[in-house]
């Protein structure tokens, strides 16, 4: 139901590396779950409005007042790699 190529395409979108074995397992497991989810297509939903928030909330806006920011030291404290006060990452093209 969901092919190996589809799995690899989705994995690319999700930035997930999958081994060959994981790709096979994933394809089987996703197919099974999607099979169950297909149940949704039994319903006629054309006249139904979607719900994205279950509880009606008054619009929650924030006053435009600055708060103290984190120090550079704290901001970078958990970073795997740091240089020149910033978060270092490998270049897109190596």
């Amino acid at each position: 139901m969901i092919s190996r190529d589809q799995v690899l395409h989705v994995a690319r979108l999700a930035r997930l590396e999958l081994t060959d074995e994981e790709t096979v397992t994933m394809s089987e497991e996703l197919s099974k779950v999607l099979g169950h989810i297909e149940k949704l297509s039994e319903l006629d939903l054309t006249a139904v409005a979607p719900t994205s928030h279950v509880v009606a909330v008054d619009v929650a806006l924030r006053a435009d007042e600055p708060h103290v920011s984190l120090s550079q030291e704290v901001a970078l404290a958990a970073a795997p790699d740091v240089a020149d006060g910033g978060f270092r990452v490998p270049s897109p093209q190596a």
């Binding site: 008054d58 806006l61 435009d64 920011s69 984190l70 901001a75 970078l76 790699d81 490998p90 270049s91």
Partner: protein
Amino acid sequence: MTPAVEYETVIGLEIHVQLATRTKMFCSCGLGFGEEPNTRTCPVCLALPGALPVINAEAIHFGLMIGLALGCKLNDRSIFDRKQYFYPDSPKGYQISQNEDPLCSGGELGGVRIHRAHLEEDAAKTIHSGGGGGRIQGSAASVVDFNRGGTPLCEIVTEPDITSAEQAGEFLRLLRTTMRRIGVSDVNMEEGSLRCDANISIRPVGQQELGVKTELKNMNSFRFIERGIRAEVARQEGLLRAGEPVVQETLHFDPRTERLTSMRSKEEAHDYRYFPEPDLTPVTITPEMLERARAAMPELPAARQARFADELGLNPDTAKLLAWRTELGDYFEAALAEGDADAVPLANWTTNELVQRLGADVDPAGSNVRPAALAGLVTLVTEKKITAGAGKTVLDKLVAEGGDPTAIVETENLAAMGGAEELAPVVAAALEAQPDVAARIRGGDMKPIGAIIGAVMKETKGRADGKEVTRLVREQLGL
């Protein structure tokens, strides 16, 4: 032989305007410019686990003002969505933007239809650096600074109504002056607070369907935009004339080399997987919010230009200059209100003599020349109390020291010379001093009369009326 095909250009623009709020779009970090990297961050704009966005009320307010300025429909209910892509400048792995239900839709500015205007957050700054240092020895790396990340942006998308590079430039200038006028942004292209992408296609004249478009990304000055569009239109036309297809791609224009390079040839087609941001509820625009936005709207440049032209009779260029340069227009209107000067000469003096002396980018309100003084000066000139030349001298004095024009005319003795009795002896003396010039004029060659006029002006410190001098020369030489 068939006649050569004529092509027409179709351009749509996507403009990102950084909003001049005090804090970021979804967190309370102050907006940063030029601070040390990563000193304007918090759990929200670093996308730490567990942090949640909260909408900045002022960004909504500015968004509504932009909508009003562009004649948009302001939607009662708008929805923030997640636009998902991985890049180090996007810490959450998605940008919070608006997709299907933007804050503003439809509209028009300067004859170009507006498709929509919506709010979103800016990306962080990625500085690409060479190899060396750090842990990844020798390999190229980037360093990310999140100070800018999360700055509120209004993205304005036009319909594909623009047909030339010049029109694109003109539209952007009007947009910039309009944004500046309503005070929602610094709109400075060099600093990146106004950024523009252009979607460009061409098609044979008369063809209905649009050609394949390319996207010209992130051009950072008006000049580059116009040059970039021209280069791209020429490139596309070259391709089509050679029988080759235009490929849909994103291009970068290098203003130094005038070269266009493809930016994302390798990257797979985007699939942003938009869905409504579950951390934010829909934004409902209340009548109070609308009222506040309406009350904050000043007269817009386009309307002001029309008023200057229609009501004050200014010529189109002068009206536009005064309307588009808000501070200049404000100064002009203050001078008009404070004195008895006529609008047309006052406008000319403001846009020519005053701007020349102060510099194009200086706000005259901060100069030594009070609006009332300029108005008084222009009145003196139009009432022929002083000559235009003397007026310029007075203006020099005003720019340098300020003061009152009438007083300056008095102390500097610049009042226009009354009539023939006062001026005749000066003219006679000048003719006497340059007998060969006088002889040539008498012989019917009027060209050297300038030498006589110059001498008279010098003697009278410009207080003489050039026309009267000419009349007296002719009279005295019996012509």
